[in-house]
């Protein structure tokens, strides 16, 4: 009989508590090669991620390049206080959150829907063409995309011209705080839907064809097949990516925001990173931006852990 299976049976029936040493020894015996394979990965993480971790202390110090990180003086939570005391702190935090929620609700499902629709296409050539062409905008630089967006949103631009045929009164869309999120998230979908669908297409192609055949034999129609075969097949992928997206709710790069916002849309467009960026123009303070970044990371991690916990309870898929 297979030795490893034997061992498993051993562990689950014996009720006595094993010492830590015994557990590790037994694990080593069973997973010798696994440990060997884990070694380079673990070492890599330690060297390249954990060794530099002391850099976090910049958030709590008055960093001076010449003094180095170790030599700079401690100031405790001074920069955190500075951030939270600023007049706009809560506004930018709120905006960061809201824009990310928009992206979650609208942007997250979009590539999934595309992948699923593509999956239903029988004509292989059409399918391949759509696949190949829709991912292209991902490679266009943000500067160009935003340039287009600014042009289209202007009073005599494409959007207004089209909307005018429905009786809309032309107005510069990027000057209105109420439209900013829509434009921001919408253009994100425009640029990313194709590229984002790739991972789901891969997941879809990993579903066993036999399952579809079995379902057809059982008389399931297309919709039933979708619900009972397709969805469960890509569910783990969706859940994992969703959890990781939730773990990014407090981050958002300033690049696109800065290219699209203006003082009139600060109300909805100014987010943490763009606010910190503007402050950095007046006085570039490494410690300040590190502190704010640290705050973001802590919130993100909390969200991720919570999302993961919930996911574990609700279904079997979770990050850990």
């Amino acid at each position: 009989m297979d030795a490893s299976l034997n061992k498993n049976v051993n562990y689950s029936t014996k009720k006595k508590k094993k010492s830590l040493g015994e557990t590790i020894k037994a694990d080593y015996k069973q997973n010798k090669f696994v440990i060997l394979m884990a070694l380079p990965v673990v070492i890599w993480y330690i060297v390249f991620h954990y060794a530099p971790l002391y850099g976090i202390t910049i958030a709590f110090k008055n960093y001076s390049p010449m003094k180095g990180i170790m030599g700079s003086s401690w100031v405790g939570i001074k920069f955190f206080k500075e951030f939270f005391n600023s007049y706009y702190a809560w506004r930018v935090i709120r905006n960061t959150f809201v824009i990310n929620i928009y992206q979650l609700v609208c942007g997250f499902p979009a590539p999934i829907i595309l992948a699923v629709l593509l999956n239903e296409i029988k004509n292989n050539r059409f399918k391949k063409t759509v696949q190949t062409l829709t991912y292209l905008p991902h490679f266009i630089s943000l500067v160009v995309i935003c340039g287009m967006l600014v042009d289209f949103s202007s009073k005599d631009g494409l959007f207004n011209t089209v909307l005018a045929t429905f009786g809309w009164n032309p107005t510069n869309l990027l000057l209105k705080p109420e439209y900013f999120r829509g434009l921001y998230v919408g253009s994100g979908i425009w640029q990313g839907i194709g590229w984002g669908s790739i991972i789901y297409l891969a997941a879809l192609s990993g579903i066993d064809t036999e399952q579809y055949e079995a379902a057809t034999i059982d008389g399931a129609n297309r919709w039933k097949q979708f619900v009972n075969v397709t969805l469960p097949g890509i569910a783990p992928t969706i859940v994992i990516l969703l959890i990781m997206q939730i773990g990014r709710l407090m981050s958002e790069g300033a690049d696109k925001i800065i290219l699209l916002y203006n003082a009139n849309t600060y109300e909805t467009a100014d987010i943490i990173s763009s606010f910190v960026y503007r402050k950095g123009l007046v006085d570039s303070n490494f410690s300040y931006s590190t502190a704010v970044g640290l705050f973001n990371s802590v919130v993100n991690m909390t969200l991720l852990i919570t999302a993961n916990k919930i996911s574990r309870k609700v279904n079997e898929t979770s990050l850990w």
Partner: protein, 554 residues
């Protein structure tokens, strides 16, 4: 490929510990008035070559490095030194610089005034990164010292409040080099409509309305949003969108009643469609399109070279009548002297072009001597005009560029080829000679615009409304906190008023809010810095124009 992690964890930590533990040198001040230091100038070219590392931005479509320029080949020959250039990739010099400093390998010469270093050159000196130059200059820079002795006003703008000299500046040697920006209008339209070049705001209003009605200009005034806030235009209301000083008292424009008048006028103009409705979201490309498609007739913030030169060249074929010309900075009443005239400072420090020497360099003498060579009569000509006989020839005592520059066989433009031979078109640690400009500006409108704009140059210099003084690191930190909020709120209200979303009746509430945000504290910080400066350099209270380049031509 994999190494022992512990060793490297330790290495990484040790490296930074070491960095932290070493004492920061250079905090001791040198006595700027040390007597008895004679000039021990090095004899150039050096008998034994010395290698210097040189950090500077470099951007050329035909060359890989400044080392490839004829200019620096010549300079290295004449000084007998070997320069190794370090060029940071464009737009990322700040990160690069911080990293270079963190790794302790500070280049012998750094160009760029260290603007990107938090706290500027003064802090860089106190942190032990750059050297204080007073002594070095006295000993090894006879040319620089001579120029400073003949033009002591340079020191007023060059020395820090503590009396340090930290940079070898870029000097704009002549009045002609100081003014290059101002409002521009379609001169062909003005002529066609029988309008004179406008001077007062009322003139402007008439011109704008006529452009709109008679020439169908959809957006008579165009530009990017910041153009509207530039002092060239805002000066018409005798204020500024920033700090300025009137007779030694520091003011912050955006809380003054004059600023309210300004906002009232431009929101009226905006409502009447005289200002480009898309201005808040305009980028450079859209502005170009407005001008070249005859949708606009006025640029608030044009440059003689890059705006007039570009557009005139572009439209020459499409519309030969197209004529862009500078007009006077607008004023309230006829005969008024403009509150603001674009005048770049004579002494250009804290920006690209100024050179600093590393505090830890082993070749400070040579570095100083190398920089000093650019200020010698010989070096001055090389920096401004290139190699005699190759890129320029002396004709009637005037350095005229040869066809190598003006008629490149590959059709490369003046600026591109010029970069190979000289730095006069750009900044650098030398005295800029106006005679380059006279040849660079080959379109009549450029010179004419300059004449219009510079009419009141002297007046502006003597009115002395510019800000002086620098804040200490602590003060700057407080200042930055206040201003980042003030700026956000101010910019928001600006747009709301401009576009008519809010009435100007609540101007007082706006001022009150800014005060709540601490603007008065910021003003006080600036005022204290200003007063400190004035105490140290009383001659700054009575500035006058001076042309350093005369040193080389008289």
């Amino acid at each position: 490929m994999k190494r022992i992690p512990v060793l490297f964890l330790a290495t990484a930590l040790c490296l930074n510990m070491f960095v932290g533990c070493s004492k920061s040198p250079g905090a001791a001040k040198t006595d700027a008035t040390k007597e008895g230091t004679k000039s021990e100038a090095l004899v150039l070219p050096l008998k034994e070559s010395v290698k210097l590392t040189y950090w500077t931005a470099f951007s050329s479509t035909i060359l890989k490095s400044m080392d490839d320029t004829e200019l620096y080949k010549e300079l290295q020959k004449k000084t007998g030194m070997d320069i190794e250039f370090i060029h940071p990739p464009e737009g990322q010099s700040k990160e690069q610089l911080n990293l270079i400093i963190a790794s302790r390998e500070i280049p012998d010469i750094i160009e760029g005034g260290l603007t990107e270093y938090s706290g500027g050159p003064t802090k860089a000196y106190e942190d032990g990164i750059i050297a204080e130059l007073t002594d070095l200059q006295k000993k090894y820079a006879p040319n620089i010292s001579d120029v400073y002795s003949k033009y002591p006003d340079i020191l007023t703008e060059l020395q820090t409040e503590q009396g340090y000299i930290l940079q070898v500046p870029h000097i704009r040697g002549d009045a002609k080099l100081l003014t290059s920006r101002g409002p521009e209008m379609r001169n062909d339209w003005l002529t066609e409509l029988g309008l004179k070049s406008p001077e007062t705001l009322d003139d402007w209003y008439t011109v704008l309305k006529t452009f709109k009605e008679k020439k169908g200009a959809v957006a008579p005034i165009t530009g990017i949003l910041s153009d509207l806030k530039k002092e060239d235009f805002v000066g018409a209301w005798n204020t500024k969108n920033d700090f300025y000083a009137i007779k030694g008292k520091v003011n912050y424009g955006p809380i003054t009643p004059e600023f309210k008048n300004y906002m009232t006028t431009i929101s009226k103009w905006y409502k009447e469609g005289l200002i480009d409705s898309e201005m808040p979201t305009n980028n450079a490309k859209m502005v170009d399109s407005r001008i070249t498609n005859n949708q606009s007739g006025v640029l608030l913030c044009g440059y003689a070279g890059s705006t007039i030169g570009r557009f005139m060249g572009l439209m020459a074929k499409k519309d030969p009548k197209f004529d862009l010309l500078g007009v006077q900075y607008p004023v309230q009443k006829k005969g008024d002297i403009p509150f603001y005239v674009h005048v770049d400072p004579v002494v250009n420090i804290n920006k690209a072009g100024a050179a600093l020497i590393s505090a830890t360099s082993k070749h400070q003498k040579e570095a100083m001597a190398f920089l000093d060579y650019g200020w010698s009569k010989e070096g001055h000509m090389i920096f401004n005009f290139g190699i005699e006989g190759v890129s320029y020839k002396m004709e009637n005592n005037f350095p005229k560029y040869t066809e190598v520059i003006t008629k490149d066989p590959d059709g490369k433009p003046f600026a591109t080829i010029g970069y190979k031979y000289m730095r006069s078109l750009y900044n650098g640690p030398f005295v800029q000679d106006p005679r380059y400009l006279e040849q660079y500006w080959d379109i009549k409108q450029e010179t004419d615009s300059y004449n219009v704009w510079s009419k009141y140059q002297k007046n502006w210099i003597e009115a002395n409304t510019k800000m002086y003084g620098t804040l200490t690191t602590e003060e700057n930190s407080k200042y930055a906190s206040i201003m980042s909020e003030v700026n956000t709120y101010k910019d928001e209200m600006y747009l709301k008023w401009l576009m008519g979303q809010q009435p100007l009746d609540n101007y007082d509430a706006y001022v009150a809010q800014l005060k709540k945000m601490g603007i008065d504290d910021a003003i006080k910080l600036k005022q204290d810095a200003y007063d400190r400066f004035m105490k140290k350099f009383p001659s700054a209270a009575k500035p006058k124009a001076f042309n350093v380049n005369d040193y080389y031509t008289k």
